[in-house]
């Protein structure tokens, strides 16, 4: 046998494969979703099993404003991607800045909530099963928000310095998929923890 076997390539046959970044991000999201599912299962499993108070009904309030902020940041990041696609760089920076701002408002809301829970209601991760499951689930989500904000801020920095062009649309799109996932997880957490679990 010769060293190299090459079969004639038929240039007329179209050969398009999906984008690596998007497929990779979807894979990451599947893996992350599995982690979140387990934390949600643990939260639901331990609902009402705490041996001592406080209970979710005693201390949790619906975080409606911060939820609206986080969910609308999904739309702003979409705005950033489509602006970049049309090569409107200033609009892209503006949308990215708005996304980062909304994300920060959400994080500040969580921080405020946790501060009250810890210092007003005396609920820590050690207090009871509710505290254990609540802080780990919401904390895991908040960790993902922090990571997303770091990446978005980086994108904003590049955008402000004019280093981001329509060539980078796909990369920003990959990041936006991650951010949509973070928002989707929040919808689940919000429903499980604040609506049905209260």
């Amino acid at each position: 046998m010769g060293g190299i076997a090459v079969l004639p390539h038929n240039p007329n046959e179209p050969w398009n494969l999906p984008s690596r970044g998007i497929v990779g991000m979807v894979c990451l999201i599947i893996a992350e979703a599995a982690i979140f599912i387990i934390f949600v299962v643990a939260y639901v499993f331990y609902l009402g099993k705490s041996l001592a108070g406080p209970t979710p009904r005693d201390v949790l309030e619906l975080p409606i404003f911060t939820t609206i902020c986080l969910l609308s940041s999904s739309f702003t990041v979409m705005g950033a991607v489509s602006a970049l696609h049309k090569n409107q760089r200033n609009a892209c920076s503006m949308w990215l800045a708005l996304t980062v701002l909304l994300g920060f408002i959400f994080l500040a809301g969580t921080a405020h909530e946790w501060y009250n829970l810890i210092y007003r209601d005396g609920l820590t991760i050690r207090t009871n099963l509710f505290g254990t499951a609540f802080y780990s689930l919401v904390g895991l989500h908040a960790t993902h928000v922090v990571l997303g904000l770091c990446l978005l801020s980086l994108a904003l920095l590049f955008s402000l310095r004019g280093q981001m062009t329509s060539k980078h649309t796909e990369r920003l799109e990959v990041l936006s998929i991650y951010w949509h996932f973070v928002d989707a997880v929040w919808v689940v957490v919000f429903l499980v923890v604040y609506v049905f679990g209260r």
Binding site: I4, L28, A31, A34, I35, I38, I125
Partner: protein, 554 residues
């Protein structure tokens, strides 16, 4: 003067080589590093198994202390699953997938290197516990909680010191590395195929790795989540698995086995993948039932996600759960049976060449069948109540892990190492390796079923003489010696062939998949010209232009 300059020069050359390997992002080099690091851990964990078999060979033995015995079985299990099985299979996948689909590298080469180094770091961290596990408390060195680390053994009250933390961190890091590599494999398979390499033309190995990788996402997530919870329990005072605060020890079991059972299939599917490539080549026939193989693999992937609680029949899950998990476990025998019949049908009427890789493959077929049969027995909940946590179970899963997976890993070495090193492994030594290992395997694991049936529980460090278990344990332990010698012959063969083996050439087996169209070892860029394929066996088409496969494939 000449001598003094020559020494630093050679040292610099050596450092250059190390530097090249440390910074590499080439999928072939990363694959080989995965394999080498897994082989080292294979020897370490095999040595641990030998120590345990010496301890159990005769009753009331005092070769190792009970504490050391607990550490040995924990380290043996953890190492074999996470730092031998996963990395060696990822290593072959890393090496072969881009070559088989006509790509020049993986989709994310740097992520690939990251995945390797973080997994390797996890393995080192696990073994560092022998030095650092004592911590300030002086209690326990290596982890001794068993490889599935049931609560409350892992609680701070029962596991003082840091050994369990090393275990947790090692698994967490290995999990991150596994997800990174699996992500890379899926993306490579979907996005990097050469022109004409449609999904239904991919070599079955690539298909099986695709399903394996998808299972990694779903299986490793629960493990990672459970490890995070355990760390929160141990460090932050959380109560996930703390029964005194209302937490549930059974929840840990569920989370662990939701990972643990798919993990078995994550390990065995690559073994099937090797069989799918090796058996047809040495039967000189195309694989029988390619679409059925793919469908069966996907079926196994789905069903394996719903069988985890068969590890927990003895917990007392209730009638409905027992029934469901018994049925689900039995159903998985159907797609697995389809595969076995397909391999048999591939052999049937073929012109069989009994080379060493083929011998290991046939051994695999036979042993995997028996492992499946004891699996069906154990899937019946009442039978499991009798034999759960006995040596029967140990014999069953070692039949899968050694008799099926390790045998196919050996086959893969004999088949693909000529591609990796450019030199053939010795067939003569290989036959010695095969027979020593097969005899040792059957001595050990056939006879291990018997003390299990007689009631010998797993994880006991010794037993009394009047139990009637001694003769069986003696046979089991003597088989371990044969296996150890076989493994040493294999290592010698690897080293010898690397330096002195016959030159392999690009296609020593007259095979049909794209990796054999490259020189051995392949250049860094794999393919000078990206190939273009028209069937499942592109090299067959090239060698037989008058009768290409595309005439027959649907």
């Amino acid at each position: 003067m000449r001598n003094t300059t020559a020494v630093p020069e050679s040292r610099r050359r050596w450092l250059d080589v190390v530097h090249e390997w440390v910074k590499t992002v080439d999928h072939k080099k990363i694959g080989i590093m995965y394999i080498c690091y897994a082989l080292i851990f294979l020897l370490v964990a095999g040595f641990e198994a030998l120590l345990m078999r010496i301890q159990l060979a005769i009753p009331n033995n005092t070769f190792v202390s009970p504490q050391v015995f607990n550490r040995l079985f924990t380290m043996h299990g953890t190492t074999m699953v996470f730092f031998v099985g996963m990395p060696i299979l990822f290593g072959f996948g890393n090496y072969l997938i881009p070559l088989m689909i006509g790509a020049r590298d993986m989709a994310f080469p740097r992520l690939n290197a990251f995945g390797f180094w973080i997994s390797a770091f996890g393995g080192l961290l696990l073994y560092f516990s022998y030095l650092g596990g004592d911590g300030l408390y002086g209690a326990g060195s290596a982890p001794d909680v068993g490889w599935f680390a049931y609560a409350p053994l892992t609680s701070p009250a029962f596991s003082v010191g840091h050994s369990t933390d090393y275990w947790t961190l090692a698994l967490l890091l290995s999990g991150i590395g596994s997800v990174a590599t699996a992500l890379n494999m899926v993306t490579t398979t979907i996005c990097m195929r050469c022109p004409g390499m449609k999904l239904n033309r991919m070599p079955l190995l690539v298909w099986l790795y695709l399903v394996t990788s998808l299972m990694v996402f779903i299986a490793i997530g629960p493990l990672t989540a459970a490890q995070i919870m355990l760390m929160l329990d141990r460090y932050a005072g959380a109560h996930f698995f703390d029964t005194q605060a209302g937490g549930s020890a059974v929840l840990w079991m569920h989370f662990f086995w939701i990972f643990g059972h798919p993990e078995v299939y994550i390990l065995v599917l690559p073994a099937f993948a090797f069989a799918n490539e090796i058996i047809p080549v040495f039967s000189r026939k195309a694989i029988f039932g390619y679409p059925a193989m793919v469908a069966a693999t996907i079926g196994i992937g789905f069903i394996s996600l719903s069988v985890w609680a068969h590890h927990m029949f003895t917990v007392g899950l209730g009638a409905w759960a027992n029934t469901f998990f018994t049925l689900a476990t039995m159903v998985i025998a159907v797609p697995t049976g389809i595969k076995i019949f397909n391999w048999l049908a591939t052999l049937w009427g073929g012109k069989i060449h009994f080379t060493v890789p083929m011998m290991f493959s046939v051994g695999f077929l036979f042993q995997f069948l028996i492992a499946g049969l004891t699996g069906i027995m154990l899937s019946v909940a009442p039978f499991d109540w009798q034999l759960g946590n006995s040596y029967f179970v140990v014999a069953h899963f070692h039949y899968v892990l050694v008799g099926a997976i390790l045998m196919m890993i050996f086959a893969a070495f004999y088949y693909w190492s000529p591609k990796m090193t450019g030199r053939m492994l010795s067939e003569k030594l290989g036959k010695w390796h095969f027979w020593l290992f097969v005899i040792g395997f059957h001595l050990t694991f056939d006879f291990m079923h018997v003390p299990g049936l007689l009631g010998m529980p797993r994880r006991i460090y010794t037993y009394e003489a009047d139990r009637g278990w001694m003769i069986w344990n003696l046979i089991v332990s003597s088989g371990a010696i044969f296996q150890a010698i076989g493994a040493l012959v294999f290592v010698y063969n690897l080293v010898w062939s690397y330096f002195k083996g016959p030159i392999a050439g690009p296609d020593p087996w007259d095979a049909w998949t794209l990796e054999w169209s490259t020189p051995s070892p392949p250049p860094a860029y794999n393919f000078a010209v990206i190939p273009s394929v028209g069937s499942r066996r592109p090299l067959w088409d090239l060698k037989h232009p008058e009768d290409p496969d595309s005439n027959y494939e649907m």
